[in-house]
């Protein structure tokens, strides 16, 4: 039941308000005369290999557009080489985009000069890196306060703030250790604390947990979920791990060869994959954990008993299984008092038993 409330709560954030980050027609091309590629009608359409042969360029990000709403966890997922890490670096211009528009809180980032960009990086964004990027010659607390130091904050003040954040990420007692005395997971907590210390509006995560072993990774994912609840930041999260994406993301953008393949919620990706690539990707996902009743309900037929229990359309199948199977009559899926469809034993079993139901 907790999952259900959590999901619906998170869903609620992505509608209505103006987006924090709005990306339009974003291109990043590496190579000689890269800026010609996005403008040329002919070159834009070329596949990776042909583009390389024709111009010597590689397009790492091709014509990407998306919006991130305030408080949302937006996940960009793809295999290595799909351009996802380049994409996230373009958003803060750690890599200079070739073409397109990135609007952050109404301001086009691509037009910011160096000074403005530094200001934004100091106060509005921060980033957590796959390989941590900690400073080995500084203690944990000095690593965490590094961003504040760069802003010119006084020692006493920044140490105080750093200690608060260290506690927030669960590192109390390690303030005076050096990074190489900590385990990988703890080092990444330092990275997380460093990103949080400046109290930014948006956190970017570049495959932050890929270098950690599975158990630690799970801990850290839960940590991110907890922090998201506590501090409510907007997050853009890069990963190559589908289960991580499904676990953390309100919405997921799937990339392949620099292009966006599909963008939607986890149940949309599993329930209605845009193409074979996505279908292949989500094939092994336990569908019952992701799909909601909305995806498996069937229209009302004559002769259906209408006195069964009621459930919301966003209840995850796994959560509903026991109730549906226990009930004598099919369950009615009702939203705002309106009957959307019904779910019977057959529909539930088709998902739970792993058959590819026609959805």
């Amino acid at each position: 039941m907790t999952t259900q409330t959590e999901v619906s709560q998170r869903r609620g954030t992505d509608s209505g308000s103006t987006p924090v980050i709005s990306v339009r027609r974003l291109w990043k091309v590496f190579g000689p005369k890269a800026d010609q590629v996005p403008d040329s009608e002919e070159l834009r359409g070329l596949a990776r290999r042909e583009l390389m042969d024709r111009t010597g360029c590689t397009a790492a990000v091709r014509d990407v557009h998306f919006d991130v709403s305030p408080g949302e966890v937006f996940v960009v997922m793809g295999l290595s080489g799909s351009g996802k890490s380049t994409l996230v670096r373009c958003l803060t211009r750690l890599i200079e985009p070739t073409a397109g528009e990135i609007v952050f809180e109404g301001e086009n980032i691509r037009e910011a000069d160096d000074k403005r960009l530094r200001e934004l990086r100091r106060s509005k964004f921060s980033m957590v890196f796959q390989h941590f990027g900690l400073l080995p010659h500084r203690r944990v607390v000095d690593n965490v306060s590094f961003g504040l130091e760069i802003r010119g904050m006084g020692r006493a003040e920044r140490t105080k703030r750093a200690l608060e954040v260290v506690e927030l990420v669960g590192l109390e007692g390690y303030e005076n250790s050096f990074p190489d005395q900590l385990s990988g997971g703890m080092q990444q907590r330092v990275g997380l604390a460093r990103a949080l210390a400046g109290n930014p509006d948006v956190l970017f995560f570049d495959e932050p947990f890929s270098a950690l072993d599975p158990l630690i990774r799970r801990d850290m994912q839960n940590e991110v979920i907890r922090l998201h609840h506590e501090v409510g930041k907007t997050m853009v999260f890069i990963t190559h791990d589908l289960s991580e994406a499904l676990k953390l993301g309100d919405r997921i953008l799937i990339m392949r060869d620099g292009k966006m393949v599909q963008c939607g919620t986890g149940d949309e990706l599993v329930g209605a994959p845009a193409d074979d690539y996505v279908r292949e990707f989500v094939k092994d996902v336990p569908r019952g954990d992701v799909l909601t009743l909305r995806w498996i309900m069937r229209p009302l037929k004559d002769g259906d008993a209408l006195d069964g229990p009621e459930m919301g359309p966003d209840v995850v199948v796994r959560e509903a299984t026991r109730a549906v199977l226990a009930a004598d009559k099919p369950v009615k899926v009702v939203e705002n008092g309106k009957l959307l469809g019904i779910v019977g034993d057959d529909e539930i079993l088709a998902v739970v038993a792993g058959q590819d139901g026609d959805v």
Partner: protein, 669 residues
């Protein structure tokens, strides 16, 4: 001739077919055949053409080029104080360096204005040495520094040691002043890095010796020239290591700083520099060791200090004195090396040892500074603390001991050493040298070009052709061939030693652990201290120089080969063992072939080290190019010839380096 020229092209042809099995084996066979063919043709033609067109030049004969150099030298000497380039540039540089050196010398080694003694006497210097070593390193190296410096005093070489130290420190100071900023720049800018790397490569290839001659042209003979030469020689490692340190800071860390909004300045000062500190200190270590090596050799252009004592003793074949002064150089090298190594290790240990010790460190350092200041004051005021007491009894007994040992060795071992020497000389060195010097020059030239092209590819062949052409131009062709013969013979022996010990070290961790510290220590010694013991054993012949060169170069080659053998994947060795390989088969069929790249690299380093030592051997009767250079420093009319000989050494060095580097790249590709 045509054979030699055709072969390389043939062997190059299979290149583009890629690394598939049959093509590789065909190429290797044909390369070997090509080398053999070149050698056979050479030998045949040698038999026919022996003694013709050898470009022989008697010791006192000069060519036009040499006379032109002499004239240039004279005219520079005459116009030194009127030519604006000298008046406002070279002389100014010399003045600044001279002032710095004189200042340091007056502090610790030479009598200064109105005082019969330097400003700081031995007690003060020992105090400072101990305190600084403790502050940057630890108390163990501080004790070592105190003991080492006191030992030099007891040897009766206090002033000479301090002169050497003064020159070394001045040169290191100036070198680092330039090298660290340049290194940071090369670390930050790819373009600048691409520009400086070939220069650094070139500078590090050159034997120490060759910097001296051209510099005396511009800066006169004396401490200033010596310091400048030392500076030029010692700066490249510091530049290279600083750049490397900056470059090896993980990209993520720099990116993380950027993502937090750091300015370029902030990321340089707070991220890049602190993170490269430890590596840069290692660069400082290399700079100091290079500077010490050069300062001792710079005695040839009248640099004061221990080197001068050694050279004078070597020239008068006074083994005892040379040994005593050589020992002082070794002690100083050990002290400087240990202290700077401890300084670079300190970064780590200080961090680990935690707060308890750190709390006491500051007051202790303060107390140490006060004690040092008192010692300095006392050594400034009281004669007993200023002038090293005693009659240098230790030094003379060391010298006597060395002399006794020499006499004993000459009396009792001469049969053995002479037999060894004669066997090598007559069996290996003489025939080879005759082949090189008595063949017509064009035959040797073509053979060298052909070998270069076969072993290193056409590019190396072109380099070899250019070098051969220029060598002929220098007018010291015959001497160059004599030096070449000694170098090649010594290198072959170095490689034999290197392979034997390298494989042994590579296969046994225990042997590695025992031998490696010795090899490390042997590598930091200034080259010509090696001459002293072999002078005692073999007398003043070119053979002494060759043996010294072997001992000098073997550690490098051994270490490279050992690392190469160790780098062979354990799985491959295991697979070979499980297939039933005997130890011998394992070494010859698996480990050595897979360490091919390391072997070639070891040859490269071996050649360069040997070359620089064979040349220094000119001091103890090795003759040829080394003798020309040394004679050029001391006799005005031979100056031009000495300069040309220096140039010839550079050309030999470049040729060896290019061919072996190219071969190494080809082999490891």
């Amino acid at each position: 001739m045509t054979v030699a020229m055709e072969k390389p092209e043939k062997t190059e042809k299979p290149e583009p077919t890629g690394p598939d099995g049959p093509a590789t084996s065909v190429r290797r066979v044909s390369r070997r055949t090509a080398v053999a063919a070149i050698l056979v043709v050479w030998l045949l033609l040698f038999a026919v053409l022996r003694g013709r067109q050898t470009l022989d030049l008697a010791a006192a004969d000069l060519t036009d080029l040499h006379r032109w150099f002499n004239d240039a030298n004279d005219s520079i000497g005459a116009n030194r104080n009127s030519n604006p380039l000298f008046l406002y540039f070279f002389n100014e540089i010399r003045l600044v360096i001279d002032t710095l050196v004189t200042f340091v010398q007056e502090l610790i080694s030479q009598p200064s204005a109105g005082r019969p003694l330097p400003q700081i006497g031995w007690l003060g210097v020992v105090g400072i040495a101990g305190f600084v070593s403790w502050a940057v390193g630890n108390w163990r190296v501080a004790l070592l520094a105190v003991a080492g410096f006191t030992f030099m005093g007891l040897q009766g070489l206090w002033q000479e040691s301090m002169d050497t130290l003064a020159l070394t420190l001045s040169a290191v100071f100036v070198a680092l002043l330039f090298a660290i900023p340049l290194g940071v720049w090369a670390g930050l800018s790819d373009r600048f890095n691409r520009i400086v790397t070939p220069f650094l490569d070139f500078m590090q290839t050159m034997p120490t010796f060759v910097y001296l001659a051209p510099l005396t042209l511009f800066f006169l003979i004396g401490p200033a020239s010596a310091t400048i030469a030392t500076m030029i020689y010692a700066a490249p490692p510091a530049i290279r290591i600083t750049a490397h340190a900056i470059r090896s800071v993980p990209e993520t860390t720099v990116e993380a700083a950027d993502s937090l909004g750091a300015t370029r300045r902030q990321s340089l000062l707070k991220v890049l520099l602190p993170m490269s500190k430890r590596t840069v200190v290692m660069g400082v270590n290399q700079t100091i060791m290079a500077a010490l090596a050069m300062v001792t050799i710079a005695a040839l252009i009248d640099a004061p200090g221990l080197g001068k004592t050694v050279i004078q003793a070597l020239q008068s074949l006074d083994v005892g004195t040379a040994f005593n002064a050589g020992l002082a150089i070794v002690v100083m090298a050990i002290v400087l090396d240990r202290v700077t190594t401890a300084a670079s290790a300190r970064e780590e240990t200080a961090r680990r040892s935690g707060g308890r010790f750190l709390k006491w460190r500051r007051p202790l350092l303060g107390a140490g500074a006060v004690v040092t200041a008192v010692l300095v004051y006392m050594s400034h005021t009281y004669v007993w603390a200023a002038e090293f007491p005693g009659e240098a009894g230790l030094g003379s007994s060391i010298a006597r001991g060395a002399d006794t040992a020499t006499t004993w060795a000459q009396d009792n071992l001469s049969g053995l050493t002479n037999a060894f020497r004669d066997a090598l000389t007559n069996g290996l060195l003489n025939p080879f040298q005759t082949l090189l010097t008595d063949s017509p020059w064009w035959l040797v030239g073509v053979a060298l070009i052909g070998l270069g092209a076969v072993l290193g590819g056409w590019r190396a062949g072109v380099t070899a052709a250019v070098c051969v052409g220029l060598l002929v131009g220098t007018g010291v062709w015959s001497d160059a061939m004599t030096t070449l013969a000694s170098t090649v013979v010594a290198t072959v022996l170095v490689m034999v030693l290197g392979v034997v010990f390298g494989v042994w070290m590579g296969r046994s961790l225990l042997v590695d652990r025992i031998l490696r510290p010795t090899l490390d220590a042997a590598q930091v010694m200034p080259p010509f201290v090696y001459l002293v013991p072999f002078l005692a054993l073999f007398g003043a012949t070119r053979f002494t120089a060759i043996v010294a060169a072997i001992v000098y170069a073997a550690p490098v080659a051994t270490k490279i080969i050992a690392d190469g053998v160790r780098a062979v994947p354990a799985a491959t060795v295991e697979a070979a063992t499980s297939a039933g390989c005997s130890t011998w088969q394992l070494i010859t069929k698996v480990q050595l072939p897979m360490a091919r790249g390391a072997l070639t690299l070891a040859t490269n380093q071996g050649l360069i080290y040997v070359l620089s030592m064979v040349v220094v051997g000119g001091l103890v009767g090795a003759g040829a190019l080394g003798y020309d250079v040394v004679a050029g420093f001391s006799q005005g009319q031979l100056y031009g010839k000495g300069l040309a000989a220096g140039l010839a050494i550079v050309l030999l060095g470049v040729m060896f380096d290019r061919i072996t580097q190219a071969a190494a790249r080809r082999v490891s590709a």
